[in-house]
């Protein structure tokens, strides 16, 4: 039997519910919903099964070593994990303030017409395939980075470990910027919807208590919509972690761990896309599959942490009432 019978089922018999169609609809939709869980489980199982060789050969060293040598059959995932996290972090660092700021403007401050027009363009941006962003990155962002931004960063902040080494134009920072451009539309779009759905009386109450427009937005509306805004950031993070095409075009594809954001690097998704088709050696192939498993875990853990953080801060902030 399907678990969780609907409350409206009442005392009617199973057969009569079946006849009226309620039960059929419930079973069918339940099957659809459970297919999501099934696919996820099968995915993990398949990745687990197809990565048995490197799991046994390298064990936990797979996460700790940094050599990736297909010929000597030495595989370590550390540079790829590092690159994936760093590029996603840079992207969120840029995209979160920009995206939420833009969403606040669109939802709270802009006239309806401007807001709707801009939203149209933002939705368009969100629908652009990532390879287009990659091409844009390699032909526009990379030359600008190499000629202007990276030399300027080295000149002004060159003492910091983050901005050292030669300015290739490609690398962690460039990949992070291109990713930021890609995920900003998600943050804006979702955050705007959430902000717009904040009940009108919340704003009016704040204004009636003598808040200015900005105070009501910043102290009432934004905290009220916090859960939804966090949701938009999760979505952006998931996209940034798994993005393949655009990243591989601008990150430099060198398994290097460097504090410098100007250095070329590598991400998990990029190395899988690059090497899988030509991985004739079985250990090489399976190591790439294990990297897929690692990416899955990484997304899982980071999402879990983010959710945990959200739960904790919501309790501390005692819900929506900040005023």
């Amino acid at each position: 039997m399907v678990p969780g019978a609907s409350p409206s089922a009442g005392s009617r018999s199973f057969i009569s519910r079946l006849r009226s169609g309620d039960e059929i609809a419930r079973i069918v939709t339940f099957l659809f919903a459970s297919s999501v869980v099934l696919v996820t489980l099968l995915l993990v199982l398949q990745l687990w099964h197809d990565s048995s060789l490197p799991r046994h050969k390298f064990g936990l060293n797979f996460f700790a070593t940094r050599v990736w040598d297909p010929i000597a059959e030495q595989f370590g995932a550390l540079p790829f994990i590092y690159g994936t996290i760093v590029t996603a972090a840079v992207a969120l660092l840029i995209a979160v303030p920009l995206g939420i700021g833009a969403a606040i403007f669109l939802a709270e401050l802009a006239p309806q017409k401007i807001s709707d027009t801009l939203q149209f363009f933002i939705d368009l941006l969100a629908a652009v395939p990532s390879v287009i962003y990659g091409v844009l990155g390699i032909f526009i962002v990379v030359p600008i980075m190499r000629q202007y931004i990276q030399p300027a960063l080295k000149h002004s902040l060159g003492l910091l470990p983050f901005f050292q080494g030669p300015a290739y134009g490609i690398g962690f920072l460039t990949a992070g910027i291109v990713l930021a451009i890609m995920v900003i539309p998600y943050i804006i779009s979702v955050s705007r919807e959430v902000l717009l759905s904040v009940p009108r009386d919340q704003r009016e109450a704040a204004l009636a208590l003598g808040s200015t427009r900005w105070e009501s937005t910043w102290k009432v509306v934004v905290p009220f919509a916090r859960t939804g805004i966090m949701g938009s950031i999760f979505l952006a993070m998931a996209r940034a972690l798994g993005e393949t095409m655009a990243v591989t075009m601008v990150i430099g594809n060198a398994p290097i761990i460097s504090a410098s954001l100007l250095s070329p690097g590598y991400s998990i998704a990029a190395v899988i896309a690059n090497e899988l088709t030509e991985a004739a050696n079985i250990v090489h192939f399976q190591s790439l599959v294990e990297l897929g498993l690692v990416l899955f875990l990484l997304t899982f853990i980071l999402n879990g942490l983010a959710r945990l953080m959200m739960v904790l801060t919501t309790q501390k902030g005692s819900g929506m009432g900040h005023v």
Partner: protein, 342 residues
């Protein structure tokens, strides 16, 4: 009665269509480098022999070898010869061998962008190995400047660009470097993906070409056809006879002809750094991987028919698509080998 006859005619006509469409289907997968000429060949061959349809997926040499070994395709294709280990895996599984048949040849060239230099550069094998090992880091290093006396090379850092995706091009280039440098052979060795000591990775021939073009003082390696088509400078390489040669199709065929005399019976031969004054040193065959034994005799005959056609009449398509033709000696030897397919 009339209606029944009519119906019968319709059924017959439909049956005829089904029969006509029921051409013999042969599936192959593998190397992407020869994909343009393979597509053209399969298309032309189908036009001449409408009963045979050959499908080819250009999924990469590694995937081609894997699919041929798994038996999910009828034949494979690879830019690098299979290792003994891989061949053993095939024969263990199928109880017969997988044969290599060279089809055409290609070349890899060192391509570079130095804003202050417009002349074509000469590269010694030592210079190339040194640059890609990360030991030669400045353009005015004596190893590069030595054979380029007329050119004023800048004291700038060299930006090395290599392929990030697994590739037959990388195989040929690293195979060459392994032959000319012991240090390369021990530290890096040859393969479709290697652990590069230095450099930035770019995806595909077009990615390397693009990155080299826009990065000042960079050097990379690409298929000859990409360098020629995209108007990037590419250098001459010193061959085993000490002659600096810029890659062209004649030089590639010359390298193959030099190797043809000592062609092993299984055709697994590397022609990088081949002997001969006119032989371009970074050249390579590309191979079709054909089972020595077919269970389906119709497929076997079609495959043999196609192979014979490709290495004889099909060769006329090579130059137009920037591949070098097989030398005559190799063709003769292959025709004999094709007859041995059972």
């Amino acid at each position: 009665m009339k209606r029944i006859t009519g119906l019968l005619l319709v059924v017959l006509a439909l049956g005829g269509i089904v029969l006509a469409q029921n051409a013999l289907l042969i599936n192959g997968a593998g190397a992407s480098f020869p994909n343009p000429i393979y597509s053209k060949w399969f298309d032309e061959f189908h036009k001449a022999n409408s009963s045979i349809q050959i499908n080819y997926q250009s999924v990469g040499s590694g995937a081609g070898i894997k699919q041929a070994t798994d038996g999910t395709v009828d034949f494979g294709a690879s830019d690098g010869p299979m290792s003994d280990e891989q061949l053993k895996a095939y024969s263990d599984k199928h109880g017969s061998n997988l044969l290599h048949f060279p089809t055409v040849l290609g070349a890899v060239v060192p391509t570079y962008t130095i804003p202050s230099v417009s002349a074509s550069l000469n590269f010694t094998p030592e210079a190339l190995a040194g640059i890609f090992l990360g030991k030669i880091t400045k353009w005015n290093d004596p190893a590069i400047a030595g054979p380029n006396k007329d050119v004023k090379l800048p004291a700038e850092d060299i930006v090395v660009v290599h392929r990030s995706d697994g590739s037959g091009t990388t195989y040929v280039f690293t195979d060459y470097l392994s032959k000319v440098s012991d240090e390369w052979k021990n530290k890096v060795s040859k393969g479709t993906s290697v652990n590069w000591p230095v450099g930035l990775g770019a995806k595909g021939n077009e990615g390397v070409t693009g990155l080299v073009k826009q990065t000042p003082n960079s050097i990379g390696y690409v298929e000859l056809i990409y360098a020629a088509k995209n108007n990037v400078s590419y250098g001459a390489v010193k061959n085993s006879s000490g002659v600096f040669l810029k890659a062209d199709l004649a030089g590639v065929s010359e390298a193959a002809a030099g190797a043809a005399k000592e062609m092993p019976d299984d055709f697994r031969v590397s022609i990088t750094n081949a002997p001969g004054k006119k032989a371009y040193p970074i050249s390579s065959f590309t191979w079709l991987l054909i089972p020595a034994k077919f269970s389906d005799t119709a497929k076997r005959d079609a495959m043999k028919h196609f192979l014979k056609w490709a290495i004889t009449d099909g060769q006329k398509d090579a130059e137009e698509l920037a591949y070098a033709r097989l030398p005559k000696e190799v063709v003769a030897k292959e025709l004999k080998a094709i007859d041995s397919i059972q």
